[in-house]
């Protein structure tokens, strides 16, 4: 059995070195969800057309997200014997230009190139930086994402050639206790948010009585602005599945599940393929690699409710019931799915295991800081110049992430929200905070599963808190009163403040309610839902007061408190705004100054956009906070 694995590995490695020391050019197209959204499909089409037109041949690989999503669509080309070069923001014309330059004219189209993947600078790559030296990558370390963007996620041979399933083979050659010990030494903590030591959970489950145990991969990813788990599965599904097997072996489970948001079509499709390939290679089923260990994996569709990321709600939903959490203890590690001992681990936690088992605990804990070993992925988005999927060693500061990697916001920085709706909003004075579990918690936020949203001065803190609370309130399962009623009441107060109907005493009322909901809710959803409110109250209190006392929104972010104006000196009377206004709130004859009726205006910003970007218009429309009449 082991021989079969070694044979497959040798064959895969041979094919891989033929690909990399190829005789044919290789073209990589970034085809993760971000790439597809940006137009990877038409890039692929144009690549084929260009090749056909000139009678050229090349291997075309569709790879996962390599990280800098802001550069999508990405197309990379590797000529035989030359380093791979990455070209960004492709469109049909650029694809043709780049391919013709490289394949016909012997050039590199260096002005279009973003970076190359060579070991060092050579004459061929003159004028093109190394990928690892670009500002967005320089501070990053790729461990769990190491294969993303480099291998074809649908080809198990690519994974095998890059030491795939070696971690599993190593694990199976040792006792489960030794595997748990290794994970303990590595210092791995759960990447789903809370940072609970992975080995401890496993020990409890391994020690729990019973022969039937389960392990579940949590890819619920309910944070409405995060995509790291999805990207990992899309770019390297086998690493997560290998991790699931290792976890199963360690705790003594023979059945694993991947609980995945049913909207993640591409990720689900890749998992299905990967599972079939594992069966073909004897990596699933009976007696895996001759070790006596047997394991099966099933996919379970998640209904997409935020609360189903919580362990007991997730289990209820797998059992076919409403996704409602229950009181813990008993913890799932003792009594989980079907009442059996169950381990639930996040996608990234599992994806990290193959690395640890392959290279050892010491190798893993080289990165990170004391008590916070290893790396963490984040989806860095919002108002930054270089949004995307990043991976950094724990202990990296927020400033390094936001400014060095993300390039900072265009307008002055205001805050960063980590941990999604369960997390907190941190202001400028926290920028030098290291991203570590305890440090984040002491600042009132959480590490979370990896959502990181940067906002600038255009975002109102009250509006942001209202947005997150609106989300958690809608997602509250309704089982416990503090969460169901408390989040609703908090939402009403925030609505009042945002519309200029609030009173100064509302702020202390909001604070008290928030504390109560935090302390008395049944599950993590309710316990953390007040975090965005509590942290904005702490760091942006003046802004709350402006809403409550003066009835204005200083950031002009609360729609209900904003008014649009037309500067008569600049208005060209072009009637563009009159045409785009959906509510006929703007009047004015051609060549005469236009006026906006504030009572009809729904503040959709259409007039502002058209006045700013249309060539005939005079950029005459502005908006600012008005004082509420009420």
């Amino acid at each position: 059995m082991m021989n079969r694995f070694l044979e497959a590995q040798t064959k895969a490695k041979r094919a891989w070195s033929e690909l990399t020391a190829n005789s044919e050019p290789v073209i990589y197209i970034g085809s993760g969800t971000c790439g597809m959204a940006a137009g990877a499909a038409s890039v692929g089409q144009m690549v084929q057309e260009t090749l056909d037109k000139h009678g050229l041949h090349a291997r075309v690989l569709r790879v996962g997200c390599i990280g800098p999503c802001y550069l999508e669509p990405l197309m990379d080309v590797k000529l035989p014997g030359k380093p791979r070069i990455s070209y960004s923001n492709m469109d049909s014309t650029k694809v043709r230009q780049v391919l013709e330059a490289l394949l016909l004219k012997g050039g590199t189209a260096s002005e279009q190139a973003f970076a190359h993947f060579g070991e060092e600078q050579g004459p061929f790559t003159a004028g093109i930086p190394r990928f690892q030296d670009t500002p967005v990558m320089r501070h990053q370390v790729r461990m769990v994402l190491r294969n993303c963007g480099h291998i074809d996620p649908e080809d198990i041979d690519h994974y095998l050639a890059n030491d795939g399933y070696v971690g599993l083979a190593n694990a199976l050659a040792q006792s489960p206790e030794t595997v748990i010990e290794m994970v303990k030494e590595a210092g791995l903590r759960g990447r789903g948010g809370a940072g609970f030591p992975t080995f401890r959970k496993w020990q409890i489950c391994r020690g729990a009585p019973g022969d039937t145990k389960y392990v579940i991969c949590n890819c619920s990813e309910g944070d409405p602005g995060a995509f790291m788990n999805r990207s990992l599965i899309e770019g390297d599904p086998h690493c997560v599945l290998e991790g699931l097997l290792i976890a199963g072996y360690a705790i003594g489970a023979s059945q694993g599940y991947v609980y995945i948001n049913s909207d993640y079509h591409l990720a689900i499709q890749r998992l299905r393929k990967a599972i079939a390939q594992m069966h073909e290679h004897g990596l699933l089923g009976e007696n895996i690699l001759g070790s006596g260990f047997s394991f099966e994996i099933k996919l379970k569709d998640g209904g997409g409710a935020f609360v189903c990321g919580e362990e007991t709600a997730l289990i209820a939903s797998i059992e076919g019931r409403r996704g409602m959490p229950r009181f813990r203890p008993p913890f799932p590690a003792i009594a989980g799915l079907n009442g059996k001992p169950t381990i639930i681990n996040n996608v990234e936690t599992l994806g990290t295991l193959p690395n640890i088992l392959r290279h050892g605990a010491a190798w893993y804990s080289r990165h990170g800081s004391t008590g916070n070993a290893g790396t963490k992925t984040f989806s860095l988005v919002g108002k930054v110049r270089r949004p995307g999927l990043i991976e950094v060693p724990l202990g990296t500061t927020l400033r390094q992430i936001i400014y060095d990697i993300g390039g900072g916001p265009w307008k002055p920085f205001k805050a960063v929200q980590t941990g999604g709706p369960s997390g907190g909003c941190l202001s400028e004075e926290f920028l030098d905070l290291p991203v570590e579990y305890e440090a984040m918690a002491s600042a009132g936020s959480i590490m979370g599963s990896g959502g990181m949203i940067v906002v600038d001065e255009d975002t109102c803190a009250v509006d942001l808190a209202r947005y997150f609370l609106g989300f958690t309130q809608a997602e509250s399962c309704g089982k416990c009163v503090p969460c169901r009623v408390g989040t609703y009441q908090m939402g009403r107060i925030l609505d009042d403040l945002a519309c200029g109907r609030g009173k100064p005493e509302d702020i202390s009322k909001l604070q008290n309610l928030a504390e109560t909901v935090r302390r008395t809710s049944l599950c993590g959803l309710g316990q953390t839902a007040p975090n965005p409110v509590l942290t904005t109250l702490r760091h942006f209190r003046a802004e709350y007061l402006a809403h409550a006392k003066e009835k204005i929104c200083p950031a002009a972010g609360c729609k209900e408190l904003v008014e649009y104006h037309i500067d008569p000196g600049k208005c060209t009377g072009c009637q563009r705004c009159v045409k785009v206004c959906p509510t006929e709130a703007i009047r004015g004859a051609r060549s005469e100054t236009h006026v906006i009726d504030p009572n009809l205006c729904i503040r959709c910003k259409a007039c502002f956009e058209v006045c700013r970007y249309d060539t005939l218009a005079g950029n005459a429309i502005t908006y600012s906070s008005r004082r509420s009449q009420s």
């Binding site: 969800t33 602005g225 990207s231 909207d263 259409a606």
Partner: protein
């Protein structure tokens, strides 16, 4: 919603038989079955509830109870042109709610509804994984990146 669970001797219509083929008829398969039914028919109809109820031997009430818990399941037919506005965090801070207000006003409907003539369908989604391109709107599975209110209006007109 009815709760008629009398078993009928008549077999399930062919399209449901095909759909149920990959399942064993266990309660734990309910959510996946709901997902498949919605993928196939666009929504969960009363007929679907009845067929699932027979297949899984659960009451229609119980199935509706589970289905209605998850906001992704819908119980009325979708409109022809599907418009999904992303209301995820990244899209929100890039003006997603202005976009949705303008689209909703134009169509005269709210999230979760189909226009009266059945031509448009208006849904909200929470992050489609393209946050770097925010704000995004998905029209018939085609992603519109860095969407503007004015470009959305043009797009709607072209579909009208």
């Amino acid at each position: 919603m009815g709760c008629d669970t009398r078993t009928s001797t008549s077999a399930a219509p062919a399209e449901y038989r095909d759909l149920f083929q990959e399942f064993k008829g266990q309660e734990g398969e309910l959510i996946t079955i709901l997902v498949r039914v919605q993928e196939r028919f666009g929504y969960i109809s009363e007929e679907s509830l009845k067929q699932i109820s027979r297949f899984l031997k659960l009451s229609e009430n119980q199935i509706f109870g589970v289905a209605s818990f998850f906001s992704k399941f819908r119980f009325d037919a979708p409109g022809t042109t599907s418009i999904k506005v992303c209301m995820g965090t990244a899209c929100h801070v890039h003006g997603g709610s202005q976009l949705s207000d303008a689209v909703g006003w134009r169509l005269g409907i709210n999230f979760g509804q189909a226009s009266r003539d059945g031509r448009f369908d208006f849904q909200r989604v929470n992050c489609i994984g393209a946050c770097a391109l925010a704000p995004v709107v998905v029209v018939n599975e085609q992603v519109h990146a860095r969407a503007m209110v004015t470009s959305m209006q043009e797009l709607l007109e072209s579909h009208e």
